[in-house]
């Protein structure tokens, strides 16, 4: 080891707490970046491999019924590679131990051979054997786990009005149901919704569909145009009640995974970059100070024949050591946290295996960016130092020249104490550095706002979505739409105190090239249970004409109130209508469109019909109510609001909660790092001045006040900016992570602001305390000595 390197090690040891503070801030940014980018990589590669190995289809269609021969017509469409037809039907389930009825989606397994597309991954047991009368089912893992079902368990389902008992042969995963939730639901409720597979013959026979199919999946030949093929499939299937084919982009499970990746992308760049720039600034300030302190040493080295390159290299190595520590800690943190988060994704997504994969390219790139940023930060100071002729560098720096601060010239100076003036003039003498310190403090305040705005957004959603918007206890849906008078039957269920009808119709909304499929909800104009609320928030009255939709949906479709949107009804008699958009609703889970119930029925030409009812049930008769619902075959589904809310709390809220905690930790580290570092540098620069004051009779506390005065001033200026910046961050990040499946509102509470201010204030106070302890070590006698 060269002697210069030995000097480097000893200098580093002397500067260890500051170097560590910088490395930690850098590590936080890197950890965040590595964690999110690696999760993106893990999800993408896992998904792509899974899709490829299990032949996930590219185009999907549902229809009423088509004879098997139509399959050949589909296969003949140019550009279609593989076609798979089958049956998928929704049934009511009776699960042992579950008081309410559950909904099952039964899918058929081919009569001969295995599935060609959307192939299953068997997790436990085996696939139901076809051709036997053993009544076997395979069940999706999420539902099986929610109920603790093992192969061999039994389960009852109502198939076409007849209750049948099945044995679970196996537990499986399907690329079609990575996200196991009913179509249109943004949130999973694995207790009341499950996916199943059974042999084609048994399923088809039960529903009088033998020799026919109602579900199609297909893959495209390389280079085929998806839109054209969707059009061709629609033309072939139109006579058979097809609700319109769609590509992966509209596939609910695929879309949910895609949205999650988009959320991670939103978190992966901007926020970590803030951390990295703060770290670069801190490296710069630490190194500039170090070089200023070693002015004479640099002169000596140069006088003794070291080249500028050697001297410059020495200080670059210094910052390299900090970068290496930061990258090492950051990579470690990113990997550990990534592994923690990847486990959380099992709550949402069912892959055969989801392992954490370190995105090494990002690791290398982030390391290089950090190194460049901190070298850039050091370069100026090094250049200044090596440029000095040795003789000049040997002399102490000339006394800094000061001027009265700007505010003093306004004539208010007489109220300022001398130490306050010192602080003011110090700030003004180095405006760039003061500005950057102020900015760093503002950033520290700002990044503290973001995680808590997540938390507040989640709790707002929990209250808003399930207390303000949805005030029913339960949503009951009918197997088929029925006459409006059916509402009376709902009202007569035991324990029901209030019921309001709804009509749900699957539709496709089209605005220009953008197409979305969703459920159009027909509701009473001024409902009291499931309400339509705007951003105010204020309840909207559904007008007799026109549609109200989620603000996010309007945003995606690029529509504004007053514009017309084309709605294609995907149920019953197919028709296309142009309806005006008359209002925007605020909602946070999924997207929806609303119409007044009668207006919708008029459009459908079906007379007054309803798909179900939102009901309020008395707590005391809850079990009686559920038992009655279970024994009402016309009721296909029963969604209990509280269990959806609980599901949200356990999955989305928990995952956001974990991210919030991680970010909070990082933001706190940065806040402390910045403040501590500023205090240390200020202490180092003013050691002599402070020692003089001590000798002149200032107490330790008074000198401490002089030392932190500047920091306190800068902090006071930084705080309001920080709150502004933080609000901007929160807005930016939330809009980046807001997707069509789940959104968070921007909620900025006084408590959030107060917390950010408090953390920075505590960080300042503790750093001041640290610095004050260092102050005790200042050698008073040294102040008496001449500058040397």
């Amino acid at each position: 080891m060269s002697l210069l390197d030995r000097k480097l090690l000893r200098d580093l040891r002397a500067l260890k707490s500051q170097a560590l503070a910088v490395a930690l801030v850098m590590a936080c940014g890197l950890a965040m970046m590595i964690m999110t980018r690696s999760l993106i990589l893990s999800l993408e590669t896992t998904r792509d491999t899974y899709y490829e190995r299990h032949q996930f289809a590219q185009v999907f269609a549902r229809l009423k019924r088509a004879p098997n021969a139509v399959r050949n017509q589909l296969a003949a469409i140019p550009g279609v590679a593989t076609v798979q037809t089958g049956i998928a039907v929704q049934v009511t389930l009776d699960v042992p131990g579950l008081p309410e009825p559950a909904v099952g989606l039964l899918n058929s397994l081919p009569e001969r051979g295995e599935l060609i597309l959307n192939r299953l991954h068997v997790r436990a047991g085996h696939l139901p054997a076809g051709g036997t009368a053993r009544r076997e089912l395979a069940v999706g893992e999420a539902f099986a786990e929610a109920h603790g079902l093992k192969p061999g368990a039994t389960l009852s389902a109502v198939l076409n009005g007849a209750k049948q008992t099945f044995r679970l042969a196996g537990i499986v995963l399907s690329p079609e149901f990575v996200f196991e939730a009913p179509p249109g639901a943004a949130l999973p409720d694995n207790k009341t919704y499950g996916v199943f597979w059974m042999p084609y013959k048994e399923l088809a026979t039960a529903f009088q569909l033998y020799g026919a199919f109602n579900s199609v999946s297909l893959t495209l030949a390389p280079g085929a145009n998806e839109r054209e093929i969707i059009g061709a499939v629609d033309r072939v299937l139109a006579p058979y009640g097809c609700r319109g084919a769609y590509g992966r982009i509209n596939h609910p499970s695929h879309r949910r995974v895609d949205d999650e990746i988009r959320v991670l992308q939103g978190l992966s760049v901007a926020f970590p970059l803030v951390f990295l720039s703060v770290a670069a600034f801190m490296t710069n300030s630490v190194m500039s100070r170090q070089i200023a302190l070693q002015r004479e040493q640099i002169a000596m080295l140069k006088a003794c024949g070291f080249s500028n390159r050697q001297v410059g290299g020495h200080y670059f190595k210094f910052s390299l050591a900090i970068v290496v520590a930061g990258v090492g800690l950051g990579a470690l943190g990113g990997i550990v946290l990534g592994q923690k988060l990847v486990v959380m994704y099992h709550l949402f997504f069912r892959f055969p295996q989801l392992d954490f994969q370190l995105d090494t390219r990002v690791l290398v790139a982030a390391g290089a960016v950090s190194a460049l940023a901190s070298f850039g930060g050091v370069a100026g100071a090094v250049r200044r130092a090596v440029r000095l002729p040795p003789a000049e560098a040997m002399r102490p720096e000339a006394p800094a020249s000061y001027r009265p601060a700007l505010v003093e010239r306004l004539g208010v100076a007489r109220w300022f104490s001398a130490s306050f003036r010192m602080a003011l003039r110090n700030i003004q003498r180095r405006p760039v550095r003061s500005g950057l310190t102020c900015l760093a403090l503002a950033l520290a305040t700002g990044i503290l706002i973001v995680p808590n705005s997540f938390r507040d957004g989640v709790s707002y959603v929990i209250d808003f979505q399930w207390d303000v918007v949805q005030r029913q206890t339960v949503t009951l849906s009918l197997v088929e739409p029925e006459a409006a008078r059916t509402i009376a039957d709902f009202r007569h269920l035991p324990g029901v105190v209030h019921a309001e009808p709804f009509r749900f119709v699957p539709i496709e909304l089209r605005a220009g090239p953008i197409v979305r499929r969703l459920v159009l909800q027909g509701l009473p104009a001024q409902g009291t249970l499931s309400r339509v609320i705007d951003a105010e928030p204020r309840q909207l009255t559904l007008p007799p004409r026109g549609v109200i939709m989620s603000a996010k949906l309007a945003d995606v479709l690029q529509l504004r109130p007053g514009d017309e949107v084309v709605a294609k009804v995907l149920e019953g008699r197919e028709r296309e209508i142009a309806v005006p958009l008359v209002g925007l609703a605020e909602d946070f889970a999924g997207t929806a469109a609303y119409m007044e119930l009668h207006a919708l029925n008029r459009l459908l030409f079906e007379g007054d019909r309803i798909s179900g009812a939102h009901v309020v049930v008395e707590r005391s008769r809850w079990n009686e109510f559920l038992a009655a619902v279970k024994n009402t075959p016309r009721v296909a589904g029963c969604v209990i609001k509280d269990s959806i809310r609980e599901g949200f709390r356990k999955t989305t809220a928990e995952s956001i909660g974990l991210i919030q905690k991680i970010y909070m930790l990082f933001a706190t580290v940065v806040a402390f790092g910045i403040v501590y570092n500023s205090a240390r540098i200020s202490l180092s620069e003013r050691a002599r001045e402070l020692a003089t004051l001590r000798v002149l009779g200032f107490s330790r506390g008074e000198v401490g006040a002089v030392l932190v005065g500047e920091l306190v001033l800068l902090t006071l200026v930084a705080l309001p900016f920080g709150l502004l910046i933080g609000s901007g961050f929160a807005r930016g990040i939330l809009s980046a992570v807001n997707t069509e499946t789940v959104r968070l509102p921007l909620v900025l509470t006084p408590a959030n602001y107060a917390f950010a201010v408090l953390v920075v204030a505590v960080a300042s106070a503790l750093s001041a305390l640290f610095a004050a302890r260092k102050l005790a070590d200042i050698d008073l006698v040294s102040a008496l000595k001449a500058l040397d």
Partner: protein
């Protein structure tokens, strides 16, 4: 007790009837322990009285700075007695030492140690704000002949001017004792004279006990008594019957 009839004048003299400001007996300061121990002061005895001007002479390492630090409450003795107005400085805790420095001691440093971000007047006001019975900063500056340059920053003043500001800062609190560590060490001869004149003038005007460290034996003629230190001991005490004026000393 004064040693009557000693050959060289005792440092404990001269006016036995007056109460000494500092009463020092067997004062020693040892840095480090065991083999690494360095004796900076090896037991000195003296009394210092109000209005005296004392010069400490001695080579570098002779112990004069250590002695000055002991008097100024910057350091505590290892052995011996160090009484200030009858109170034992060695027993003072940190807050007591701070208030001793604040109210009783004025320091003048070789490198001036002005706060660069404060003007001359503000540098003095900084100190007068915290002590009991200060004089107005302007008066202090007039006393050192800098009434015209009050609102200048240190960077706008010459070395001699800066040192005079430092002296004004030291005396503005009306200290009982003024301690000057090589006050002219960083100045050329001519400028040094103006600084010494200021010190002498204040000593006469205000009657402040003044202790000045110097290398320059000629300056010693302006003192009432001159202590010469060597190896941590006072090896010679010279009593000047008449203090020479600074101007005269400088040829």
């Amino acid at each position: 007790m004064p040693a009557v009839g000693s050959i060289s004048p005792s440092p404990v003299a001269p006016a036995a009837d007056r109460e000494p400001v500092f009463h020092v007996r067997g004062l020693a300061r040892v840095y480090g322990e065991g083999l690494a121990a360095v004796t900076a002061l090896a037991g000195v005895d003296f009394d210092l009285y109000a209005a005296e001007l004392i010069v400490l002479l001695g080579a570098s390492g002779s112990g004069k700075s250590t002695l000055l630090n002991q008097l100024g409450g910057l350091d505590s003795p290892t052995h011996g007695t160090l009484l200030y107005r009858g109170a034992n400085l060695a027993e003072f805790d940190e807050p007591a030492l701070t208030s001793f420095r604040r109210d009783a001691v004025g320091f003048v440093f070789q490198a001036y140690n002005l706060i660069p971000s404060l003007t001359a007047r503000e540098n003095i006001a900084l100190i007068t704000e915290i002590c009991r019975d200060p004089m107005p900063p302007e008066d202090a500056l007039h006393l050192v002949g800098l009434g015209e340059r009050m609102d200048h920053f240190p960077a706008q003043l010459s070395g001699g001017e800066q040192q005079r500001v430092a002296i004004a800062r030291a005396i503005a609190k009306r200290p009982e004792v003024l301690l000057c560590d090589e006050p002219t060490g960083a100045l050329d001869v001519h400028t040094g004279i103006t600084v010494l004149e200021a010190i002498e003038h204040l000593n006469r005007e205000l009657g402040t006990l003044t202790v000045v460290i110097t290398h320059n034996a000629i300056i010693a003629d302006m003192a009432d008594r001159v202590f010469t230190l060597s190896d941590g001991r006072i090896v010679n005490v010279r009593q000047n019957a008449h203090r020479g004026s600074v101007r005269a000393l400088a040829w």
